[in-house]
């Protein structure tokens, strides 16, 4: 008896071991590039130059971050992006909730037509140039409104939200109807309190979209003081703006290297700090979106 117990304990399932091992490697591959950037941003000039920085900072210092604080450009861009993200997420959520709630009602006349009109844009649209011309004619070119108004409602998010609303038991709403509640009261008093997970998920999707959006800013924004964070990052990382400032010597150039890395960290951390806490919700959100609309 004793022997059997022991042999059971010792028995190693190699398939399982290999599986865990491979997944661990995959996790490292996914995380390492970012960790490396963080390590570089905190390392001293000498360490950056020697190219030996891997997982952890070498000769830790904060010069790169101090430099960011001194350079107004990055803060300006950060403020623009925060504003656009905040407004875009708020407007997107409000419009998506309204559309999804109204069109989740079976009693609504013409709901098929209106849903169809929304879904159709997923498969066919005017494309980059005609949209650009409309924005220009509306006087939104080089205005921040061009960043959060033209992409206010996302069809995928609308589908996810509508599917969620449809799954809320009808009996709850019907009881409220009997008490004489209007559709607006039902939305705010019954449906929304039950929908916080999906609101958080869709809010995250919109916020990530606006925070990371590069395309719209590239096309619609011209004045440097209206540059978004991604646009500013791009010019710092690729166009060699930092190099121009660091012609005086090698130390300056190395500085530029860790400064670039610090910029990446500053531009990424806000989103990375939020998403793990919402993981359980957005997984469900993606699943809801996969149910055909």
């Amino acid at each position: 008896m004793k022997n059997m117990g022991v042999s059971k304990k010792i028995k190693i399932n190699w398939g399982t071991v290999i599986n865990y091992f491979l997944l661990t490697i995959l996790v490292v591959i996914c995380f390492y590039p970012f960790l490396n950037v963080v390590a570089y941003s905190f390392s001293s000039n000498r360490a950056v130059l020697s190219g030996t920085v891997t997982f952890f900072p070498i000769e830790m210092q904060l010069d790169a971050y101090k430099e960011i604080v001194h350079r107004g450009q990055i803060w300006t861009a950060m403020r623009v992006t925060m504003l656009v993200t905040l407004l875009g997420t708020a407007i997107g959520l409000i419009l998506t909730v309204f559309a999804a709630y109204a069109l989740s009602k079976d009693k609504l006349k013409g709901r098929r037509w209106i849903s169809g009109m929304i879904l159709f844009t997923m498969y066919f649209n005017g494309g980059i140039i005609p949209t650009f011309l409309v924005i220009k004619n509306l006087g939104m070119y080089d205005q921040l409104t061009s960043l959060y108004i033209p992409s206010a409602v996302n069809v995928f998010n609308f589908i996810v939200m509508r599917t969620f609303f449809r799954e809320i038991p009808k009996s709850l709403e019907e009881a409220a109807y009997l008490d004489g509640a209007t559709d607006v009261q039902i939305l705010f008093k019954i449906v929304l309190p039950l929908s916080m997970p999906i609101i958080a998920t869709i809010g995250l999707f919109y916020a990530v979209y606006y925070w990371n959006d590069y395309f719209n800013a590239l096309i619609y924004i011209q004045s440097p003081e209206k540059y978004t964070l991604q646009l500013r990052l791009r010019s710092l990382l690729f166009a060699g703006e930092l190099g121009a400032a660091g012609n005086e010597g090698l130390a300056q150039q190395v500085m530029a290297e860790s400064l670039k890395m610090a910029c990446i960290v500053v531009g990424t951390v806000p989103i990375l700090a939020v998403y793990p806490w919402l993981q359980k919700y957005f997984v469900k959100g993606v699943m809801l979106g996969s149910v055909k609309g």
Partner: protein
């Protein structure tokens, strides 16, 4: 009760046809009011641009506007179709999309299956968090990291390769290697995110199937091959069809940010071509032709893919 009666009355009268449309509009006024801004948004920013597509058939002049510009029939189409760069950009779009799909699609399913075998909740949750991480990074950041890693002289990857005694690889500067780098970056960014949908499908499989197979002596690999994969077959097919129907669409960010003048012969795709021609050079009519052509092909592939799905007994996507 009053409402229920009213609703019943509504249904009955709809069949008899006596209640007019205003009754319903008044009854659901709040819902229509909620829809008003959304409908306005879609008309202004999605349907008006669709009307704007007519400039593909016009010699668009900014000062004359869309209605004032002269009709030129298919002249713009002729000009676009005679441009080598146009066909090159289509070819590049297909190459980049197909090679990404060929690597990403099977790998995503494999990783989902691997994650599903993990029985420790903490390990599973934490590893998923890390796998989702790249999805939340912007292309600007990903391209910045990639240039840092893959640079020919001082990139970390090439330093390692040189350390092992091999020659440095021009990941970003030679056409062939650039496609490789592009695919790697795409797979890195989206592989974790892609597993969500498969994991969800796997969770829905009836546990008793596995128990029955276990009793019949099926091993882990056999259970995956004969139960898990067949049970998520329809999800796999739908995902494949969705990806294939997007073959002609490609984001502007990745090719534009990863590309450079040395690899422009493979990195110039439809979206970057439209951007350079339409926004940078202000050739509005010509670039609209390209956009319209792309949309038309997209619709065509979508319908074809949907037909195919229904033909093999799946639900389809339309």
């Amino acid at each position: 009760m009053k409402w229920a009666k009213q609703r019943q009355a509504g249904y009955r009268s709809r069949h008899s046809g006596s209640k007019n449309i205003w009754f319903y509009i008044w009854r659901d006024k709040w819902l229509y009011l909620m829809l008003a801004p959304v409908i306005t948004y879609y008309i202004v920013f999605k349907y008006v641009p669709m009307y704007g597509l007519v400039i593909a058939f016009k010699d668009y002049n900014v000062f004359k506007g869309i209605t004032g510009s002269k009709w030129v029939g298919f002249l713009n189409f002729k000009q676009v179709f005679q441009t080598d760069l146009f066909w090159q950009s289509i070819k590049n779009t297909l190459i980049l999309n197909l090679s990404t799909l060929a690597v990403n699609f099977p790998l995503t399913i494999l990783v989902a299956l691997m994650l599903n075998e993990v029985k420790y909740p903490l390990f599973r949750r934490v590893s998923q968090s890390f796998l989702y991480l790249p999805h939340f990074m912007s292309w600007v950041v990903v391209a910045g990291i990639a240039t840092n890693l893959f640079a020919q002289t001082d990139g970390s990857v090439n330093q390692m390769i040189k350390h092992l005694g091999f020659n440095a690889i021009p990941f970003l500067n030679s056409s062939g290697w650039w496609v490789f780098t592009y695919v790697i970056c795409n797979v890195w960014k989206e592989i974790g995110w892609g597993t969500i949908i498969y994991l969800a499908a796997i969770t829905g499989i009836d546990e008793s199937l596995y128990e029955a197979a276990y009793i019949d002596g099926a091993g882990k690999v056999q259970r995956i091959l004969y139960i898990t994969l067949p049970m998520i077959r329809s999800v796999i097919i739908v995902m494949l069809i969705l990806s294939i129907s997007k073959m002609m669409s490609i984001g502007l960010d990745a090719p534009l940010l990863l590309g450079n003048t040395k690899v422009i012969n493979v990195s110039e795709v439809i979206s970057t071509y439209i951007y350079r021609l339409g926004i940078v050079k202000a050739e509005y009519s010509l670039s609209t032709v390209i956009g319209l052509f792309q949309s038309a092909v997209n619709i065509f592939i979508l319908i074809l893919a949907d037909r195919f799905a229904k033909m093999i007994g799946e639900e389809g996507i339309l």
